[in-house]
Symmetry: C2
Subunit: 228 residues, 2 copies
């Protein structure tokens, strides 16, 4: 299963907020064996969000969109997702009932609070007001981290992939000096190797068979200057 | 001037690394009045990188690409940028001379260290080996933060835009209760307003005229329950 993540928000693009929502989602999806193929941040503009969601929902098995839910003028994500899918926005009765049961009275809710693309399955917000939505292969979550995380956990089981195993070998040698052993380990074992320099070099071995990955890491540790 | 940022790396998509390079670049570009329109993370795969760079370099005034430079098999960014622009990769003589002057002997450098898309202007790496490149409207920088930052600073003056001013008002009211005053301040003053909930609500007022933004913030502070 492959997935794209779309994070919505001018504050991310202005560098006022670090995109830790993306890190968290990537880690969770990776833990489930799902391959995240894109993480894209877009501004709080309907056309921009709709354009990217439209592209990704046909290109990937699923799209997770986060941010831009709520009652203010800059919360345009639901409208954008509806636009991308050529659907209308309409008050979702199931979401309204859930909000009432959670103690919000309909009269007090801002108009449009529960407006989701037609045909959506509402996703309940345990830590806030604005509901999320699942529609076609698109999951729309809030941007506030506590709300996003709780909502993702309620749908997490819908994401499944092939579990991989990783081992990291940290080498105290320049990356260029390690090339021969990187080539060797890739040839000898059925593992993918990522090389991440910066001070020491982290060599990340990844594969679907735990034993193979372990053997490859052991082989490599005997042949590089392992950092303490 | 509008810009897209492309960050390259499987480690970002697996959630093993938080994309602080993107935050740093966004903040720097925003400080210069440049509008960042997209931040997209792509895997260490030539086709994926090339496809996104190709799209963005025609859609935006400039593209900043970071990550995936270096000697290992997973460093494919230069090849991908060359592919996107339908150019070859070739050893850049100016980059090699700079490396020699910095104390690296040609014989010791890994083959391809200074291979850049044909016609590139090399960007020198003050904190590492792999040179960057400026080609057409694309700037290719390393992914190691210290290397990326120093290299960006050497080209920063090529990014210019319209300076904006921001004031933040933090309100101790639910976002939905603030809607009337958000509408009012947008109507009365020539400012854009961003609303960021999560505990208190941060209302960010932004405009090109410092006095207007200050007046708008003062007007708003008198009318909301300002958080201590």
């Amino acid at each position: 299963m492959n997935v794209a993540i779309v994070t919505v928000g001018d504050e991310l693009l202005a560098g006022r907020t670090t995109n830790t929502n993306a890190t968290w989602l990537c880690e969770r999806l990776d833990d489930r064996g799902v391959s995240v193929e894109r993480v894209t941040t877009v501004p709080d503009r309907i056309d921009d969000i709709a354009c990217v969601v439209d592209e990704y929902h046909t290109a990937y098995d699923a799209v997770v969109v986060t941010g831009g839910l709520g009652p203010t003028h800059d919360d345009v994500t639901m409208e954008a997702v509806a636009t991308a899918l050529d659907r209308d926005l309409e008050e979702n009765e199931e979401a309204l009932i859930w909000l009432e049961e959670s103690g919000y009275s309909r009269g007090d809710l801002t108009d449009g609070t529960a407006a989701l693309p037609t045909g959506s399955r509402p996703l309940h917000n345990e830590n806030g007001v604005a509901p999320g939505a699942a529609v076609e292969n698109i999951y729309v979550l809030p941007g506030v981290p506590s709300e996003m995380k709780a909502m993702f956990e309620s749908i997490e089981s819908e994401f499944t992939g092939i579990q991989t195993v990783r081992e990291t070998v940290v080498a105290d040698e320049p990356e260029s000096a390690l090339l021969d052993r990187i080539t060797d380990v890739r040839e000898r074992f059925d593992v993918a190797v990522g090389s991440y320099p910066g001070g020491s070099v982290r060599l990340v071995l990844e594969g679907t068979d735990a034993e193979t990955v372990e053997e490859a890491a052991a082989w490599l540790r005997e042949r590089v200057d392992v950092a303490e």
